[in-house]
């Protein structure tokens, strides 16, 4: 059974005013447990609105969101539990930090869950380790940290709730390449350790190609496509038509194919491209 499912999900902003706008239009999709999914789409394509439905921050105008096969809005009182099971990290999450110490800020979510001190402590230390924050940082004020560290504190704050689905809205926006790689690495390790479902919204095709099993593309409030990474990037032409890009290395190999050098496979990452080329060269030498 799919862990997260939407059925004909539709959301309209400011109903009944001149600003009325449908941000998500009849989206139906299923997300299986343990998958790592990349979410792509233009600014205003409805992807942020869509992900805010997954943890019940927004209530669908029509349609349903199912978590473990159960409509999350069936019991309005229980919506808080949904937020503990589906963790959502917003864009620029460091702006939501408010506590005096890093430890207390990470503990905010677990505390709201009503866990006991020992369990909270275990979770804070574990997630701090997962996201690469050293223990001596925990007693510092979060406002003294660097931008990248603050970002990781905020992500840890959601991870510490140990949600079965973790959604991150552009976790690397505005960071330098080193900070970006670090965060993505930590998220990847977290995924390997916990086997939890992860959704990452990103504008960087390179990033998405490097981690995603599946890609979800939103365009003009509609679900444009939702498929395995290979199949989505194989539709490079359509993707660039809606104004998105495929990884640069994919473009290079597409151009090579057009010039008669077909490797028979889609290429998304530089590492894979290097291996492929080296193998081909080795084969030629053997011949």
């Amino acid at each position: 059974m799919a862990i997260l499912e939407t059925q004909e999900l539709t959301y309209t902003y400011s109903v009944g005013t001149p600003f009325e706008k449908t941000a998500v239009d009849h989206v139906s999709l299923k997300i299986e447990e343990g998958e790592m999914i990349g979410v792509m789409g233009h600014t205003g394509s409805g992807k942020s609105t869509l992900i805010q439905h997954f943890n019940g921050l927004l209530r669908p105008t029509s349609g349903k969101v199912l978590l473990d096969g159960k409509d999350i809005w069936e019991n309005k009182e229980k919506i808080r539990d949904v937020r503990f099971r589906v963790g959502l990290v917003f864009q620029y999450p460091e702006y939501q930090i408010f506590e005096e110490t890093v430890y207390r800020d990470i503990a905010f979510g677990p505390k709201n869950m009503g866990l006991d001190e020992a369990e909270i402590k275990r979770r804070v230390y574990e997630t701090a380790h997962d996201i690469g924050l050293s223990e001596e940082l925990l007693e510092r004020s979060p406002f003294e940290l660097s931008g990248g560290q603050k970002r990781r504190v905020a992500i840890a704050g959601v991870m510490a709730m140990e949600p079965r689905v973790l959604i991150l809205d552009e976790p690397t926006a505005g960071l330098d390449p080193a900070g970006r790689d670090k965060i993505l690495d930590h998220i990847r390790h977290y995924h390997e350790r916990t086997k939890n479902t992860i959704l990452i919204v990103s504008h960087s095709m390179e990033d998405i190609a490097s981690f995603a099993d599946k890609i979800l593309v939103m365009s003009r409030a509609k679900l444009f496509c939702y498929d395995e990474t290979v199949k989505v990037f194989a539709r490079a032409d359509e993707i660039s038509q809606i104004g998105l890009d495929v990884p640069q290395i994919t473009k290079v190999f597409g151009e090579l194919r057009r010039r008669g050098l077909d490797f028979g496979k889609e290429v998304f990452t530089v590492g894979y491209a290097r291996d492929l080329l080296l193998r081909q060269l080795a084969e030629r030498e053997v011949r």
Binding site: S14, G16, T17, P18, Q52, N55, L57, R80, R83, F84, G87, L88, V89, F90, P93, Y95, Q96, I97, F98, F108, G109, N112, M113, F143, G157, V158, M161
Partner: protein, 267 residues
């Protein structure tokens, strides 16, 4: 939700009301308030209502939006009505309980007051609905400019107002975002007991203040980078120019005001 707050919200449009000179609109709104408060019988109020609904009709903004602007002031209306009902003791007694007396005079006054206030809110909402905040402060600056002679900082005041107005939607959006983020971490903000809600308010106020200060700092730097040095010798991108229709509208308003004054004397 927070974003549905309408006070001071501008509804873009191209109606005759939208196109009126904002300076005239402000003067007309003042005359309108005078109109509502000089007339003390229902006929005068009727004239005021005709003026209000006529203008609303011309603005082509749905009536629903005006009703929505009254909604936040509902508690205030109820208190006003209740006070008038209890403490006005003229006319026949309709109902009595211990020291509380409800008379037909009191009932009359409270109905009258409620209608007057509703018209006042709807009419003044029309000004902010049809005039963008920036043109509004421009107009205020122009109208107050004679005060510069007595060293009153008109430009600084107008600049402060436009910055404040400009940042209301931004701050609302920011609050909305921070609230969502804390709710995603299980904070109870619109549910839960009073004490937990009050405690959770801190989780919103701290980030909000930090971001407000950051924004103020960035804005100051950006203004200095573009050599902002106050109002001295500053020219405007949009010059305010009055057209014949502005004078017609003003004349019409004065006519209505005169009618109300005359009708108030007659009846």
């Amino acid at each position: 939700m927070l974003r549905d707050i309408t006070i001071g919200q501008y509804f873009p449009g191209d109606s005759i009301i939208h196109r009126l000179d904002p300076r005239f609109k402000i003067v007309m709104t003042i005359l309108y308030i005078v109109m509502l408060f000089t007339g003390d019988n229902y006929i005068c109020l009727g004239v005021g209502a005709v003026y209000t609904f006529g203008a609303i009709l011309l603005s082509r903004i749905p009536l629903k939006m005006f009703l929505r602007s009254v909604k936040p002031l509902l508690p205030f209306l109820i208190i006003t009505a209740a006070i008038n009902l209890m403490f006005m003791n003229s006319g026949d007694v309709l109902w009595q309980w211990k020291f509380i007396k409800i008379t037909d005079g009191g009932l009359n006054t409270s109905v009258f007051m409620v209608i007057r206030i509703v018209l006042l809110i709807m009419g003044s909402s029309l000004l902010t609905y049809t005039t963008s905040p920036i043109t509004l402060t421009d107009a205020i600056e122009r109208l107050l400019s004679p005060l510069r002679k007595i060293k009153f900082p008109v430009h600084e005041l107008a600049m402060m107002m436009s910055i404040a107005l400009r940042f209301i939607p931004t701050l609302i959006e920011e609050t909305d975002k921070i609230m969502s983020a804390q709710k995603a971490r299980g904070a109870e903000i619109d549910t839960g007991s009073f004490t937990t809600r009050a405690k959770n308010l801190i989780s919103i106020l701290v980030p909000l203040f930090i971001s407000a200060f950051r924004r103020a700092d960035e804005l100051a730097t950006a203004m200095e980078c573009r050599c902002y040095h106050g109002g001295e010798g500053r020219t405007r991108l949009r010059q305010l120019r009055s057209a014949p229709r502005d004078y017609t509208a003003l004349a019409l308003t004065v006519l209505f005001l005169a009618a109300v004054i005359v009708l108030g004397r007659l009846f």
